[in-house]
């Protein structure tokens, strides 16, 4: 009887009064804009990578010619190599420093709030401005990096003119900028670790270092995993800092630091070769996807969810 009444009332409900109507109405602005600006472009990028699309007019279908050209171009290999070097240095060094800092910040010490804010400051600052400031700091004549090195009796290199040091300088700045953000996420993970674990370990006579290795690290592996995944993705996509450091120079300096997204930018928006640039974007997408999948596959080996 009751069920029947419900059925009747459900049938009587006008279309504009249903969950379906309101649900779709409410998500429609997001969905429509997303289809136009994200989903459509994803499929179009794959298609474009198989054409010789220029700025205006449709491109002609040329099969895998873009990819062949990419692999034959030494610049592509430089970009691939630089992106990997950047990632391989930035992620482990940055995350390790963040983890140690988060552990220290989780101790009972004064000024914790101030530390949190100051370490976080570079991650909210415009990367373009950070690039300008550090270019000046690394200036071999007037910069304070070499002035400080000279104070310790070290002759600093020509950071901004020597291709060998140029890219290293960029990676250092990237690490400097990123550690605060990762530190905050890891700190939140640390604060979720119940204090009783440490107390128990202390009773057994464990040292601080043992506590860190045997309790802290295993228990925050979920946060750590999240930070590493995010760092990998962002590092492979680095652009702003590279762009501002290269600052329209060319030759060995540009080659020392050009990464994949820099290459995509240049091909598409400097040389107006949209199809060719899309091919490189597809390669970047495949690399990011592969790296992410490998990490999720490796996740069960080292990440503990309780």
């Amino acid at each position: 009887m009751k069920g029947e009444m419900e059925m009747v009332s459900k049938r009587k409900k006008a279309f504009y009064n249903t969950d379906n109507f309101w649900g779709y109405l409410f998500i429609s602005p997001l969905l429509i804009l997303m289809l136009i600006f994200s989903v459509g472009p994803i499929f179009f990028a794959f298609y474009m990578s198989l054409t010789d699309w220029k700025l205006s007019g449709a491109g002609e279908f040329i099969g895998l010619a873009n990819f062949k050209e990419l692999f034959a171009d030494p610049a592509t290999w430089t970009e691939l190599k630089n992106s990997l070097i950047y990632t391989v240095f930035k992620v482990p060094v940055g995350v390790s420093i963040s983890l140690v800092l988060a552990y220290f910040l989780n101790q009972r010490i004064p000024f914790r709030g101030m530390f949190r804010v100051v370490y976080f400051l570079p991650s909210i600052t415009m990367t373009v401005a950070i690039g300008l400031v550090w270019r000046y700091l690394f200036n071999s004549q007037y910069g304070i990096v070499n002035a400080i090195l000279a104070f310790f009796g070290i002759q600093g290199p020509y950071w901004m003119a020597d291709p060998k040091y140029f890219f290293a300088a960029i990676i250092l700045v990237a690490i400097w900028q990123g550690i605060g953000y990762d530190m905050i996420i890891l700190l939140a993970g640390l604060q979720n670790v119940p204090g009783m674990y440490y107390e128990a370990a202390r009773m057994e006579g464990a040292t601080s270092f043992q506590c860190f290795r045997k309790i802290t690290v295993p228990l925050i592996t979920p946060s750590l995993f999240f930070v590493i995944i995010m760092e990998f993705m962002n590092s492979l996509k680095v652009f702003d800092l590279i762009y501002i450091f290269i600052n329209a120079s060319y030759g060995p300096i540009e080659d020392a630091a050009r990464t994949m997204v820099y290459g995509i930018y240049q091909k598409a928006f400097v040389h107006s070769r949209m199809g060719y640039a899309s091919a490189e974007a597809v390669i970047l997408f495949v690399i990011i996807l592969a790296v992410t999948l490998v990490q999720f596959w490796g996740e069960r080996k080292w990440v503990h969810y309780d």
Partner: protein, 282 residues
């Protein structure tokens, strides 16, 4: 009694001393570039190329700021940046709160499938789609317009997830009570959900401000004329005669950083908590 008092005072442990010392040293490294930026912004050009380096300007001058604002046209770029940021924030708050509410509380068909679909789209790097997105804007003749700058940044999946999380935390009873009083979905959304999710809206607004204000690539490719240039592009484009004038470069850097620091100072708590929560829930 004095004995008990003594016992209660915690002993300073080695790890605390070590932590504080390392964090203090790190603090210097974190703050020094900012300090140098601010100090240089008040120096004359001659002082920036002095050897050995001078730390403090002899006479603090505001000339650099005045020059950047007027002769280098930064007032215009400020205006454009503000319009872009406000547009993106308003757009995201509207679009993401509607969708976030629907995903949190309305039981529509294929809800979970659509949610998974959003997650998959979120995983695709923006650089992959930026070329097609640019061509779209270009062919619609929307390059060098505010619409072209703003609209593609509005549909934020991250923002939708963030607000959904907040809406899910609002008690069901309130919604039920409102429904009995004759409130429809729209009424519940505007009168109950939005006011109660204020913390989430503020957090999203701060995130949107930060990412839009600092964004370089999209405005760089979508604007060509000075009329629509934003600050990030303007700072990146300082070249030629100014490129070696570090007093001007640092003044420009200070001026683009100040709004970030102000917003951060106001919304520091929400922002840091928002960042922290991404790791726990993710």
């Amino acid at each position: 009694m004095t004995d008990a008092g003594k016992k209660k005072r915690p002993k300073v442990k080695k790890i605390q001393v070590l932590s504080f010392t390392v964090l203090m040293l790190g603090l210097i490294i974190m703050i020094l570039p900012f300090l140098w930026m601010v100090l240089t912004a008040f120096k004359t050009y001659a002082e920036t190329v002095q050897i050995p380096i001078v730390w403090f300007p002899e006479k603090w001058t505001l000339d650099n700021f005045e020059y950047v604002l007027t002769s280098m046209n930064f007032l215009l770029y400020y205006k454009n940046s503000i319009i872009m940021v406000v547009g993106v924030i308003v757009g995201q708050l509207f679009v993401c709160s509607l969708a976030g509410y629907a995903f949190a509380r309305i039981d529509f068909k294929y809800r979970s499938q659509l949610f998974l679909f959003l997650m998959a789209v979120l995983m695709v790097p923006g650089q992959m789609t930026i070329i097609a997105r640019y061509l779209l804007i270009y062919n619609l003749h929307l390059t060098d317009t505010y619409i072209g700058l703003i609209l593609p940044l509005v549909p934020s999946i991250f923002g939708t997830f963030l607000l959904r999380q907040f809406f899910m935390g609002i008690p069901f009873e309130l919604e039920e009570a409102a429904r009995i009083d004759g409130c429809g979905y729209w009424g519940i959304y505007t009168r109950i959900m939005l006011p109660l999710a204020k913390g989430g809206l503020v957090t999203l607004a701060i995130f949107a401000f930060n990412s839009t204000w600092n964004d370089l690539m999209w405005p760089l490719i979508i604007t060509n004329t000075e009329e629509y240039r934003v600050l990030a592009v303007a700072v990146a484009a300082i070249k030629g005669a100014y490129d070696t004038k570090n007093n001007l470069l640092m003044a420009a850097s200070v001026m683009v950083t100040i709004p970030c620091v102000l917003v951060f100072a106001v919304g520091q708590k929400q922002f840091i908590e928002g960042v922290a929560s991404t790791g726990i829930k993710g």
